[in-house]
């Protein structure tokens, strides 16, 4: 049976752990809110982008652009958006399991986030580029990733670009997902809200007749890279929101477990303490009786 002192020591150490996990939980919660906020503050941009896109794609008519062009797929590029740090439950392992399914012979990889980069180099896959992004993703970071991928695609090094990330559904649910970035299929309306599903949103066209300078198709052509940049930015925000909420939930579970453990240990401790008191009392009374 462990001594009371051993148990006291364990309680103390579990308490310390609980304190740390609790702190991490709080930090993750506030960062998650920040990521959601960042997505919302992009809304005016999205609204304007959608309105311009709706206008130009309606006016451009028969339009072809290298970013839209479908080619036979010989080589693919996969952008892997993972987190930098662990302690976020199964977040990264779920994502990387999806990534592991891709064929390493026909795929080149672009990593954003350290965990993904580590995984790709560990499994000796073809890593074309490695990017980092901050806790609060900046648009310039998204632009760098998107530009790099567009260059690969336009040079003909790859015939399709996919992006794998963890989609933020709500605080409790995040799902690894792979989307095709290039070639651009149907031009869909963007959506600033992280939680809503933008699978079937359509572009709206207003009744105002716009002039275009130089022409609708050239404006659309110039707009497409920006459209992609914003998509990557949005994916970064989704991934960050997922990371923080996954971490928050993982740390909440850890804190709860630690609390349960402390409760059990305290019970054991009291039992042992009582047992030793009873033993002592017994000894004293039996000694007194034998004296008398």
């Amino acid at each position: 049976m462990p001594s009371t002192r051993d148990i006291r020591r364990r309680i103390k150490s579990v308490k310390n752990t609980a304190q740390i996990t609790k702190a991490m939980q709080m930090v993750a919660a506030s960062k998650m809110r920040k990521a959601q906020q960042a997505a919302l503050s992009g809304r005016p941009y999205v609204v304007l982008m959608n309105s311009v896109l709706g206008q130009v794609s309606a006016q451009a008519g028969d339009f072809s652009h290298p970013l839209i062009e479908k080619r036979t797929i010989k080589k693919r590029a996969l952008i892997v958006i993972s987190s930098d740090k662990g302690l976020a439950g199964a977040l990264n392992s779920n994502l990387l399991r999806e990534v592991a399914k891709t064929d390493p012979n026909t795929t080149v990889y672009i990593a954003a986030g350290r965990k993904g980069a580590q995984f790709l180099s560990r499994t000796k896959r073809n890593l074309a580029g490695e990017f980092t992004y901050k806790d609060a993703p900046q648009f310039s970071e998204a632009r760098a990733i998107s530009k790099f991928a567009q260059d690969l695609f336009l040079k003909g090094d790859v015939d399709q670009v996919d992006i794998a990330f963890t989609n933020y559904i709500n605080t409790l649910t995040q799902k690894p997902e792979t989307r095709t970035l290039m070639p651009i299929g149907e031009i869909k309306a963007l959506d600033a809200d992280l939680q809503s599903d933008n699978a079937d949103s359509k572009l709206s066209t207003s009744s105002v007749e716009y002039l275009f300078e130089p022409s609708a198709s050239s404006v659309l052509g110039a707009l497409l890279p920006h459209y992609l940049n914003y998509q990557v930015y949005q994916v970064l925000l989704e991934a960050k929101a997922s990371e923080h909420s996954a971490r928050m939930v993982a740390m909440k579970n850890a804190t709860d477990n630690a609390k349960q453990l402390i409760k059990d240990l305290t019970l054991d401790y009291n039992k042992i303490r009582q047992a030793s008191i009873t033993k002592e009392l017994l000894e004293i009374t039996s000694a007194a009786m034998s004296m008398g």
């Binding site: 941009y45 304007l48 311009v52 310039s140 760098a144 275009f212 404006v219 110039a222």
Partner: protein
């Protein structure tokens, strides 16, 4: 009939500017253009450069990155990846950023680094140009 234009400048990170103004001068891709109220609806691209805004008889200046603009009779909406007011530009910081970008371009860089450094360079140059022109 409206006498003013509503100028809005939005970036992916925030709505930078939203005010009623008398006139806007934009760096269009095919040359500078001035927009007055009741302009014909127009959509076009803008190049990185300087926007001049006239409001209550005074001129205000902003540095913007490349982007797009939607113009209606009473609205000018600019969608860009950077926008900063001339008064808010920190010249020392912009100069430092420019220097850093130039230095980095001297080194051996991979493609992805060149792309991001070039973008950073463009931003700091635009900011510096706007700031310096205001002084002379």
């Amino acid at each position: 009939m409206s006498k003013t234009l509503r100028l809005e400048i939005v970036t992916p990170e925030a709505k930078t500017y939203s005010e009623d103004v008398d006139m806007v001068t934009l760096p269009g891709v095919q040359g500078e253009m001035g927009i007055y109220p009741m302009h014909v609806p127009l959509m076009t691209q803008v190049a990185a450069g300087e926007i001049a805004v006239r409001k209550d008889g005074k001129n205000h200046f902003l540095a913007i990155g490349e982007g797009f603009v939607e113009i209606t009779g009473d609205h000018v909406s600019i969608m860009t990846d950077m926008a900063i007011k001339a008064d808010d530009i920190d010249e020392a910081k912009a100069e430092e950023a420019r220097q850093r970008a130039v230095d980095r371009l001297q080194q051996k860089l991979t493609d992805e680094e060149v792309a991001s450094v070039n973008a950073a360079l463009l931003h700091s140059l635009t900011q510096l140009n706007v700031k310096r022109r205001r002084r002379v």
